[in-house]
């Protein structure tokens, strides 16, 4: 495994948590991910397939040019 790549990815995750420690869901996700990377002996087939499907779905949105309404700039409330 490329240690430099992983170090940079983990730096990014650490920065995320440092920037927003109040976002409990984010902190939990990052902890779970790092824990899985460091404690699991194996990333299972099911975990891999779920991850691939999750990111494939995001990429499909992008390819289709779909921008969710909450990602778009909308008029200010009156």
């Amino acid at each position: 495994m490329n240690a430099a790549t992983l170090a940079l990815v983990l730096q990014g995750l650490t920065a995320l948590v440092a920037a927003a420690p109040q976002v409990e869901a984010l902190v939990k996700q990052v902890k779970d991910l790092i824990s899985a990377l460091f404690t699991a002996k194996q990333i299972t087939k099911a975990q891999q397939d779920a991850m691939m499907a999750q990111v494939d779905a995001i990429v499909a949105l992008s390819q289709a040019g779909i921008v969710p309404s909450h990602w778009a700039v909308q008029p200010d409330p009156q």
Binding site: M1, N2, A3, A4, T5, L6, A7, L8, V9, L10, Q11, G12, L13, T14, A15, L16, A18, A19, A20, Q22, V23, A25, L26, Q29, V30, L33, L37, F38, A40, K41, Q42, I43, T44, K45, A46, Q47, Q48, D49, M51, M52, A53, Q54, V55, I58, V59, L61, S62, Q63, V67, P68, S69, H70, W71, A72, V73, Q74, D76, P77
Partner: protein, 142 residues
């Protein structure tokens, strides 16, 4: 710099023993069980980090939209600050998608580096968005 060194050493020590189960999406095999391509743990880690970052920025945008009227009354700054980020978020999402497609089509180190760079932009933007969230404070009463 010390943090970087610690993280790097943890990666070397900790991740070296983590394997991808054969047959998964990041370690595909053919019908005979032979590896089609070399297992790609770096790709898995980058995608996993991206999924976390994407879910976070998506959650921040959704939180603002779902509570817009209330938040606007408290302070218009929150929506206005997120509105500056929203177009950039779409752009970095699309950049990541483009780099990922390129890497999947041609998984060479140069394309992995591009994907990693795209992830770094997403993470930076996500940190900015998440940091804008209102901070809740709790009084202990002591």
């Amino acid at each position: 710099m010390a943090v970087v060194a610690v993280v790097a050493s943890l990666v070397v020590v900790g991740c070296s023993s983590t394997k991808l189960e054969s047959g998964g999406a990041y370690a595909p095999v053919d019908v005979s069980g032979n590896a089609i391509v070399k297992p790609d743990p770096a790709f898995y880690v980058i995608d996993a980090a991206y999924a976390v970052a994407y879910a976070t920025v998506d959650g921040v945008f959704k939180f603002e939209q779902d509570n817009r009227l209330f938040l606007w009354q408290v302070s218009p700054n929150f929506k206005q600050a997120l509105d500056k980020i929203r177009p950039e978020a779409v752009k970095v999402r699309d950049d990541y998608a483009r780099c990922r497609l390129a890497y999947k089509a041609n998984p060479v180190p140069a394309n992995l580096t591009q994907l990693q760079t795209a992830l770094a932009r997403v993470q930076q933007l996500t940190a900015t968005a998440a940091a804008l969230l209102p901070t809740a404070t709790t009084k202990t009463g002591n």
